[in-house]
């Protein structure tokens, strides 16, 4: 089976998982059933398999590279990173609700990658500067970081919804969300993990830039925006450790951070120019 059909099945599995999560949440008013969690594990295995088959296809064309070099491959790998982080968090905290955000988002990313005419899906040979193991470390750590921030974004939105409207006694709680404390812990842990991973991503990127271009930092827009994002989460962690920032403030902060993540990942490429344009 070739990579695009595997990835196609993964895309539809994610879409189905997203719909199932939304259905159980809004219509059944309960947390996701364990079956959906197993489905998520299956879907991510398909996603990973598609990614690995593409790796194999790239080596058969004689170009031989880890598929992390253009927007198509970026979205495919970002998707499996996000679902892997989701699985880890869900395994540990059992919120049962993160999937409401994660699966619509990843199915959208996967569909955009495969169907948008703006995204080139062909396997292209790599220019010499991109032929480096540091590229793999750099991209994977950044993506795992982005994935953690995405999970934190989901938890933050749920936190705001959960604490937003006081339910009167006797009135049925509008939406069956997990405890605010658990959501707060998830968003904090995800931010902490994302902060560390993005930090490692920025550093491995610098090492690579230093070896390929002779300069570890050149204020390229992508570089700069990843630093800005990292600083935002650094401020979050400082405020949390030294001032005990929790609750709604922490949730709003994570959402601002996630906007910066989105801008770093996509906005920079479409609005600003630099070394990282996935052309």
């Amino acid at each position: 089976m070739n990579s695009s059909s595997l990835l196609g099945i993964a895309t539809f599995s994610y879409l189905a998982l997203g719909l199932a999560h939304l259905y159980q949440f809004f219509f059944k008013r309960r947390k996701a059933s364990p079956m959906l969690f197993n489905g998520a594990v299956g879907a991510v295995v398909l996603n990973l398999a598609g990614w690995i088959v593409r790796w194999h296809e790239a080596s058969q064309t004689g170009y031989g590279y880890v598929p992390l070099s253009n927007l198509y491959e970026a979205l495919i790998s970002l998707s499996w990173c996000t679902v892997v982080v989701y699985i880890i968090l869900e395994k540990k905290y059992k919120t049962g609700f993160l999937g409401i955000f994660i699966f619509p988002l990843v199915s959208l990313a996967m569909a955009y990658a495969s169907f948008s005419p703006r995204v080139e899906t062909a396997i292209q040979p790599l220019i010499p500067a991109l032929q480096s193991n540091w590229l793999t470390y750099h991209v994977l750590t950044c993506f795992l970081g982005y994935a953690a921030f995405t999970a934190s974004f989901g938890a933050s939105i749920m936190y705001l919804v959960k604490t937003g409207k006081k339910t009167k006694p006797g009135e049925k709680q509008a939406l069956p969300l997990p405890d605010a404390d658990i959501l707060d812990e998830v968003l904090y842990k995800a931010n902490a993990a994302g902060f560390l991973l993005l930090g490692i991503g920025i550093i491995t990127g610098s090492v690579w830039a230093s070896r390929a271009w002779g300069s570890y930092w050149s204020w390229d827009p992508k570089e700069t925006w990843s630093l800005i994002t990292w600083i935002i989460y650094a401020v979050f962690l400082h405020a949390r450790y030294a001032r005990g920032m929790r609750g709604r403030t922490a949730a709003v902060f994570s959402i601002i951070g996630f906007i910066a993540v989105l801008f770093t990942f996509l906005g920079v490429n479409y609005l600003l120019s630099g070394l990282h344009s996935y052309a």
Binding site: G62, Y63, P125, I127, P128, A129, Q131, S132, E185, A192, A193, F195, L196, G199, I200, I203, S206, V207, S210, R211, A212, W213, G214, S215, Y216, W217, W219, P221, T224, W225, L227, I228, I231, I232, A234, V235, L237, H238, A239, Y241, A242, R243, V268, L272
Partner: protein
């Protein structure tokens, strides 16, 4: 004095940390929106009025080295150093505390209860319970009973210092790096040089050694014009001695005496003695002739009906808004020649483009000529840098990551269990302390629950 104290307190405050961090983030953001390092004329084209003045006043054309950005960075560094200094005494106090010593002040976690049994009968189980979640349980005797203690993750207390010292090292390394340089050297096969080109109007750097290019090669992907790799074989010449050969390629530089040599580009130098034109042969039936000519030398057709002189060569042809011709780069991206034709009493000037043979600028020419190209020899483009402080930066990065891991994913947890016999029962008091209360709470509760069923 009062003011001085306040200033010192402010300098090490979290508020200042957050203000400077936001300042650095916001400033950096502006630098990605306003294009950097353009000429004054280019800025005048994009911006006008107050904005243009602001760019010059605030050095927004080189924002990351502007006075105000450097001031924010300096204040951030001062804040960082004073925060570390402020925290060192309490860190030393914590780390000096012997295992089992109670921390000064109250304990955040305590629980008391009674259970049946004797101290000697319970000792073994207690040790086992403490060993499950902590390291090195110890026992200290009291007048009536004993205090058992255990702890784990003491190393995480170092996290704060390690991570912030890491950031300081990165800043120091980056500052040291500003005393380095980054320049280019272009060498043809067999050529050698010790001169590093830094840019226009900047005196070049003279290396202590010379670099010779013994061989240069490019390989392409099959059926593609994309280069797969390019590499140079270099020899270092120093005090009459040769070292090498060294093979460098993109991503695999060579370091020698603090100077690093990167394979960064390649190109070819056009030979002005070998310019090829395609010209019509006299008599319309005859095929065109290919002519080799040189810059500024004239070629006359066999029958003398016209002559042509190449007067200018431009490697990367472009035209500004006033219609002045210039070269966008030194690469042969859009090579063009200006040719002056004379036929009888008339003369005309024409631009010919190697990439666009059918396009002629100017009036229709009675002599339909084409510029076929120019011969040249390829050279290797080396980037040569000296970056003092680079190892400090890498050491700082390692410390930053290691320290952040210690802070974020580990915590120092200590527990004490006081066991005092009271008749046939034991009075048990459990106490705990941690550098991260939130993570410790469930751990403490689990331990207490287990102790109750001792």
């Amino acid at each position: 004095m009062e003011f001085f104290k306040k200033a010192v307190t402010y300098l090490s405050s979290l508020r200042l940390t957050i203000i400077t961090l936001i300042g650095i983030a916001a400033g950096s953001g502006i630098g990605t929106v306003i294009p950097q390092h353009l000429t004054a004329e280019a800025y005048a084209e994009i911006y006008s009025g107050t904005m243009e003045q602001l760019i010059h006043r605030l050095q927004l054309n080189d924002l990351y080295h502007s006075w105000w950005f450097l001031i924010i960075a300096a204040v951030f560094t001062l804040n960082l150093v004073s925060c570390m200094l402020k925290r060192v005494p309490s860190l030393i106090r914590v780390l000096r505390r012997k295992r089992g010593d109670l921390p000064p002040g109250g304990l955040p976690f305590t629980a008391s209860f009674k259970t049946a049994g004797t101290l000697d009968g319970k000792r073994e189980t207690l040790y086992r319970l403490l060993k499950e979640g902590f390291a090195r349980p110890a026992e200290r005797h009291e007048e009536k009973g004993a205090i058992f203690s255990a702890e784990k993750g003491r190393i995480s207390r170092w996290g704060f210092l390690v991570t912030h010292l890491g950031i300081l090292l990165i800043i120091v390394g980056a500052f040291a790096g500003s005393y380095g340089y980054r320049g280019q050297m272009e060498l043809m096969e067999g050529e050698q040089s010790r001169q590093v080109y830094l840019g226009e109007n900047i005196p070049p750097v003279q290396l202590d050694f010379a670099v010779r290019c013994d061989k240069f090669a490019v390989s392409f992907y099959p059926q593609s014009r994309r280069p797969r790799s390019y590499e140079s074989v270099l020899t270092i010449l120093e005090d009459g001695r040769e070292t090498g050969p060294f093979r460098i390629t993109v991503n695999k530089p060579l370091s020698h005496r603090g100077v690093t040599i990167y394979q960064s580009s390649y190109g070819s130098i056009p030979d002005m003695e070998q310019i090829y034109l395609k010209l019509p042969s006299p008599g319309s039936a005859a095929p065109d002739t290919q002519v080799k000519t040189a810059l500024d030398s004239s070629y006359t057709a066999e029958d003398g009906s016209y002559s042509v002189t190449v007067t200018r060569f431009i490697p990367d042809f472009a035209m500004d808004e006033q219609g002045h011709v210039f070269s966008r780069s030194r690469d042969l991206r859009n090579p063009a020649v200006q040719a002056v034709f004379t036929s009888g009493d008339t003369a005309w000037t024409q631009w010919l483009f190697a990439r666009y043979p059918d396009f002629h600028s100017g009036t229709d020419s009675p002599v339909p000529a084409q510029f076929l190209g120019v011969a040249g020899s390829s050279f290797t483009g080396l980037q040569i840098t000296r970056s003092p402080g680079l190892s400090l930066v890498w050491a700082g990065c390692l410390m930053l990551v290691a320290g952040a891991f210690l802070i974020l994913f580990m915590s120092h947890q200590q527990v004490w269990v006081r066991v005092t016999p009271a008749g046939r029962q034991l009075d048990i008091t459990v106490a705990g302390s941690s550098s991260r209360a939130a993570a410790f709470k469930p751990v403490f509760e689990r331990l207490t629950k287990k102790l109750k069923t001792l």
